[in-house]
């Protein structure tokens, strides 16, 4: 069976939120067999077979950007087939090599790599100097010689934290130097106040509150020293959160909005605190939390949740499931703003396109919103994904000129093949999306093509609901569905169960008079079942009227002459039976057939009534003989049976008499008529039957 691990099992509870770790791309190729990427040195990526991240210094750009790596020469590495000379490598998030260039030898040791906000690659060397490279070709910016960020004799880099526009460096002699204009040609490093780390103390870890989140406009560096945390800026040093008694902090991280800090304490607690250390927002210890809440949301909230969840989901089929779930809800919830749904569909289409391993930008929906579509398009252009950039521009109604211009320039300078983008398929063809952009007719056709009747219903209800919201005539709806047999038939099937009136309107307005006729017959039968309508009461009136109406509808078309005549006879029979019930004072006729009515009359000894029914309904003689013989035998009126047999020569022979007697178990009576059977085969057959039946 298909291995369907429960989706819920992937989630872990942390405080009151569920989290999960998902694999977006696996396995990562890290290299492709052919060198298809532009490479500054022309050497291609032949040296990269696999990438052991633990032996490399690595930087990953935020917002699903590229990954850069250089082998860490401070670690002893067994070289396989790769060249011993180090290279600077660049991959997409999905592990496709984008570029590589040789690492200049004889430089001081590399301390760390990072990306700036304009997506330049920064390399901080252990002596505190900085190298900068442009993407995507990894060409050095300005000069190939490193820019120094530390004053001489500072002892080199002990730790460093980058953010989009700068870097904070902790020197070996425990001083802090920040550079906030890291992208300019000659950056200006500034030393902050002395954090006052004693000789015997050690800085455990470091974090930076970026300048845009600090009132003064300059960064604030947090250092964990001993069992305290200090905030260092240009003006001074401040000890934070002593009252919280957190103890030595092993690791700190500032939230993207600069407001919160996650701190990992030495005793294994994970704390979340505001960056001003005013209180502990929550702390997490293993299995400390067990607070399942029953989800009892109302429908709009559920739809909202489904749409949101689809946004956060990376798996396209699950997005699909969630959006589908949302549309289920939408069909029942007209108040819900449909725009929300459309918007998410649009976003997901874009995200799925760029998340594709070929593009390799695993953006989350939040990241996308922060990054904005324009910046994303810029990134795509820079990654030589022009066609996709163009399509997204068009899809989002952004000016495509930027893309086209850039493409034209690139085209002239290079003859790189445009990647085959079939990526925008995916959600594009999915029906809910089409629905939301109001292409009802197209959506209906698509759903029919899918062969999934549930989807057809989904579209049908959507259109139906829209029509009732917009108060346009149902005739429009009938017109739309009548052109499509499957949609039409499904509507009919559904309406049979719940919307008789609408169905009747549909039949009448589309000229299906016979179907309307059958619908009336069905209603008349329901009346018959109504106990109030039986017992020969005048309530039979409506039932008869319905049958007569049906008769008239059938009569409208030549093809339904038989039905028309039958309905006419049916109405007549109901009247006759009603009279019989009145005259006999017995409610046993209505609902029985012509033949049964005749039999009942004979059984009751009312031969005259039986004959009257026979002639009124033009019952053929042959049948009359079967019915009368059977009825007389049932009541054991053998004399009357014999008299009947002598009336005239029966039109179908004496078989009805013989069988009536045998069925009643009257062998001797049967023997009276057996000799009169003309066919000798028939005679012997009957004799056998007498023997067998009486033997049984």
């Amino acid at each position: 069976m298909s291995s369907s691990v429960s989706v819920a099992a992937e989630w872990d509870l942390l405080s009151d939120r569920f989290y999960r770790r998902i694999t977006i791309y696996s396995p990562l190729p890290w290299s492709s067999p052919a060198t298809t990427t532009a490479s500054s040195s022309g050497g291609g990526s032949s040296g990269v077979g696999r990438l052991d991240l633990s032996t490399h210094i690595v930087a990953a750009a935020p917002f699903g950007g590229p990954i850069a790596a250089v082998r860490d020469d401070s670690k002893i590495v067994q070289l396989h087939s790769e060249p011993s000379r180090r290279r600077l490598l660049l991959f997409s998030s999905s592990g496709h090599p984008l570029a590589s260039s040789p690492w200049t030898p004889h430089l001081p040791r590399l301390h760390s790599l990072a990306f700036s906000s304009s997506l330049n690659l920064l390399a901080l060397l252990s002596d505190g100097s900085l190298l900068r490279f442009r993407l995507p070709d990894l060409n050095p910016i300005t000069s190939s010689s490193p820019v120094p960020l530390l004053p001489p004799a500072s002892g080199g880099v002990a730790d460093a934290v980058f953010w989009g526009g700068g870097v904070a460096i902790l020197t070996e002699d425990n001083r802090v130097v920040v550079t906030t204009d890291i992208e300019v040609d000659d950056p200006h490093p500034r030393e902050l106040a002395d954090p006052g780390v004693a000789e015997d103390e050690q800085v455990l870890c470091m974090a930076v509150v970026e300048p845009q989140f600090v009132m003064s406009g300059s960064p604030e560096v947090l250092l964990a020293v001993g069992d305290r945390v200090v905030a260092v800026d240009e003006d001074g040093v401040q000890v934070l959160g002593e009252a919280l008694e957190i103890g030595p902090v092993q690791k700190m991280a500032v939230s993207p909005n600069g407001k919160l800090l996650a701190a990992f304490a030495h005793d294994g607690r994970l704390l979340v605190i505001p960056t001003d250390f005013s209180r502990i927002i929550f702390e997490y210890e293993c299995d400390a939390y067990d607070n399942y809440q029953l989800i009892s949301s109302s429908l709009p909230e559920a739809i909202e949740a489904c749409i949101d969840a689809a946004g956060y989901e990376f798996d396209v089929s699950r997005q699909h499931t969630l959006l589908r779930a949302a549309t289920y809800g939408l069909a029942f919830c007209s108040r819900f703003p449909h725009g929300r749904f459309q918007e998410m569909c649009k976003i997901l289409r874009v995200l799925n396109a760029v998340r594709d391993p070929e593009i390799g930008m695993p953006l989350t929906v939040k990241q996308y919103k922060l990054l904005t579509a324009t910046v994303l398009i810029g990134r795509l252009i820079n990654a030589n994904q022009h066609l996709l950039a163009l399509r997204i521009s068009e899809y989002l109604n952004l000016n495509p000129e930027v893309v086209i211009m850039h493409w034209a320039c690139e085209k002239i300078t290079a003859s790189a093949a445009i990647p085959d983008v079939v990526l925008l398929e995916g959600l594009l063809d999915k029906i809910p999306l089409l629905l939301s952009i109001d292409e009802q007719d197209k959506a209906l056709q698509k759903s029919i093509d899918s062969g999934d009747t549930d989807l057809v219903y989904l579209v049908l209800f959507h259109i139906w609901q829209k029509i009732s919201v917009e108060k346009s005539a149902p005739l429009d709806f009938f017109g739309v569905i009548n052109a499509r047999p499957l949609a039409r038939d499904l509507f009919i099937a559904y309406a049979r169960h719940s919307k008789h009136e609408a169905l009747k309107d549909f039949f009448l307005s589309t000229g299906r008079l016979q179907d309307a006729g059958f619908l009336l017959l069905k209603e008349s039968r329901e009346l018959e079942r109504n106990p109030m309508a039986s017992k020969g009461s005048p309530l039979h009136g409506p039932q008869v009227r319905l049958v007569e109406q049906a008769h008239r509808l059938f009569a409208e078309t030549k093809e339904h002459l038989f039905e028309s005549k039958s309905a006419e006879e049916h109405a007549k029979l109901l009247r006759v039976q009603h009279q019989l019930e009145v005259s006999t004072k017995q409610a046993i006729f209505v609902g029985s057939s012509v033949s049964d009515t005749i039999k009942t009359c004979i059984v009751m000894g009312n031969e005259r009534a039986a004959v009257k029914v026979k002639s009124e309904f033009k019952v053929p003689d042959k049948r009359w003989y079967w019915l009368k013989s059977c009825a007389l035998a049932t009541v054991g009126n053998w004399d009357a049976l014999e008299t009947f047999s002598r009336e005239k020569r029966p039109p179908g022979g004496y078989k009805p008499f013989v069988e009536a007697c045998i069925d009643a178990g009257q062998k001797t009576e049967a023997l009276k008529y057996i000799p009169k059977l003309t066919d000798p085969g028939e005679r012997s057959e009957v004799l056998v039957r007498i023997r067998v039946d009486t033997a049984c």
Partner: protein, 522 residues
């Protein structure tokens, strides 16, 4: 003996398939804590009895009820509806909930759709204003093993839906079921389909493979080589004929449902009269496996012979004292088969009391005459007579359909006359039934010459069975008529459709011969 068939001898690992369904159902039951009332639709109740012992459900505090139009009688605070996604059940569910409310009963309601939730069903719940009160889920039961060599989709109404109502939901269902099967047994490389619905199902299956592919790489060699899809419409003739094998007669006379028949206890030799007993009929019963497809009189001989031989052994055991222990063991082992023998002696005897009747012979004979399609008058008069005699309407309609199919319809005058006789004899309420039969093309006015004789000759449908005890052709199962669909399958298996291309054009709907190859990785 358990009604759940033993699947150990199945060619595929159907046990795993069934266990998966068991597990899925139990996990639904377990997920709802505490005492609960499980309300199942009637047909599904039978289906589930092929998957697990319903007593297993009781272990989880479950009370069982069958869904009906009546109010729900239970003390349980939680109600779990397990129903197939059919529109007509939704009103029942809604009414039960509303009834509870009118009595001021507060319960927790769950509704599990089988096999999947359907927006049309939910729309009805919404209109009845109970949708919000239900927690909705799915129980994806698509295929049920009826026996070691039969899987059933349990779609009772698919023919009616497809041919008359134009609702092709079941076609999607078929494709989905096969696709699910492929996840377990690999992508089936060959598809042969005949008929509108079958070719559509094949297309859908291909489409599903594109959308949600079963990996062709990791599965190794597919366990199923070919799937043959036939529309019922292609062969409506066969189901109209009276079945004559032991199993066929059991079905005709007693109706086999979910692999068992219900009979009066007295028939099975029990004392209590009037009580019904359920007799399972599947291959777990070795004797049944041996005799199910034999002619009734052969069956009688076989069981009699078995009984006699045990009797003789018994006499021997009694008269001599020289048996070795192993010989005695052997004998005891054979004694164990006695209950099986007794069961089939009883059933066969019961069937014979029907089958020996002249009326039954007459019917089988007239079917043969109709199938040979040579003497119109005899057939027409026979049908006229049984209508006028008011024989059961099912018998009448089966013969009438058979007659119309093989004769290419009836001349207008006869057609109208017989229809009128039917309405007069059985009541005008059968008008929609006749209209639907006409709509489905089963009983119709003659418009062109019949091609039945051509089909019958080309596929050798009428076969003279020389030795009914050792038949060499499938035609023995209908006293000399080989089922059209079986002949088609024989051809499809042997050489594909190509050899009978021209003939297939005479039967309704397109045909398709599809090879699905391992798609090369790009």
């Amino acid at each position: 003996m358990a009604q759940i068939p033993n699947l150990d001898n199945a060619a595929l690992n159907l046990t795993a398939l069934r266990e998966q369904s068991q597990k899925e159902l139990l996990s639904i039951i377990k997920s709802i804590r505490g005492k609960k009332c499980l309300v199942i639709d009637p047909k599904l109740a039978g289906t589930l009895s092929l998957i697990l012992q319903t007593s297993a459900l009781k272990e989880y505090g479950t009370e069982l009820r069958i869904l009906s139009a009546d109010p729900l009688q239970t003390e349980c605070p939680k109600v779990v509806y397990l129903v197939r996604s059919q529109l007509n059940f939704m009103k029942f569910v809604a009414n039960q909930i509303k009834n509870d409310e009118s009595k001021g009963l507060q319960r927790e309601y769950h509704l599990y759709f089988v096999p999947r939730r359907i927006v049309a069903c939910e729309k009805i719940l919404e209109e009845e204003k109970v949708h919000q009160k239900l927690t909705i889920g799915e129980y994806p039961l698509y295929l049920v093993p009826l026996d070691e060599d039969v899987l059933s989709l349990e779609l009772d109404y698919s023919l009616q839906e497809c041919l008359i109502e134009g609702d092709t939901s079941s076609v999607w269902h078929v494709a989905k079921a096969i696709h699910k099967l492929e996840f377990a047994f690999g992508v089936i490389p060959n598809i042969r389909a005949k008929g509108v619905a079958s070719t559509k199902a094949a297309e859908l299956l291909n489409h599903m493979q594109l959308e949600d592919p079963v990996s062709m790489d990791n599965m190794g060699i597919p366990e199923i080589d070919t799937v043959i899809l036939l529309d019922r419409e292609v062969d409506m003739v066969t189901p109209m004929c009276s079945q004559l094998t032991y199993e066929g007669l059991l079905d005709e006379m007693l109706e086999i449902h979910n692999g068992s028949v219900e009979v009066d206890a007295s028939i099975m030799g029990a004392q209590q009269d009037g009580k019904k007993v359920k007799v399972p009929l599947n291959s777990s019963d070795k004797l049944y496996k041996e005799i199910r497809d034999l002619n009734l009189h052969v069956v009688v001989q076989v069981v009699r012979q078995k009984a006699t031989s045990i009797q003789q052994d018994y006499a021997e055991v009694k008269s001599t004292n020289t048996q070795s222990v192993s010989e005695l063991k052997d004998f005891v082992k054979r004694l164990h088969s006695l209950p099986e023998i007794a069961r089939h002696v009883n059933l066969a005897q019961h069937l014979q009391s029907f089958a020996a009747k002249p009326a039954f012979h007459a019917r089988v004979e007239i079917e043969q005459i109709i199938l040979e399609a040579q003497t119109y008058e005899t057939c027409y008069e026979y049908i006229e007579e049984i209508i006028q005699k008011q024989e059961p309407i099912e018998t009448v309609l089966r013969l009438l359909v058979l007659f119309s199919l093989t004769n290419g319809g009836l001349p207008k005058k006869n057609f109208d006359y017989l229809r009128r006789e039917i309405l007069h004899s059985y009541g005008f309420e059968h008008m929609p039934l006749l209209y639907n039969l006409e709509k489905a093309g089963l009983v119709k006015r003659q418009e062109s010459r019949t091609n039945w004789p051509v089909i019958s000759r080309a596929l050798q449908l009428i076969v003279d069975i020389k030795d009914p005890e050792n038949p060499d052709d499938i035609a023995y199962i209908f006293a000399g008529y080989a089922p059209l669909s079986i002949r088609l399958v024989q051809h499809a298996v042997r050489s594909g459709w190509r050899s009978i291309e021209e003939l297939l054009k005479l039967l309704p709907g397109p045909h398709m011969d599809l090879k699905r190859v391992r798609c090369l990785d790009h």
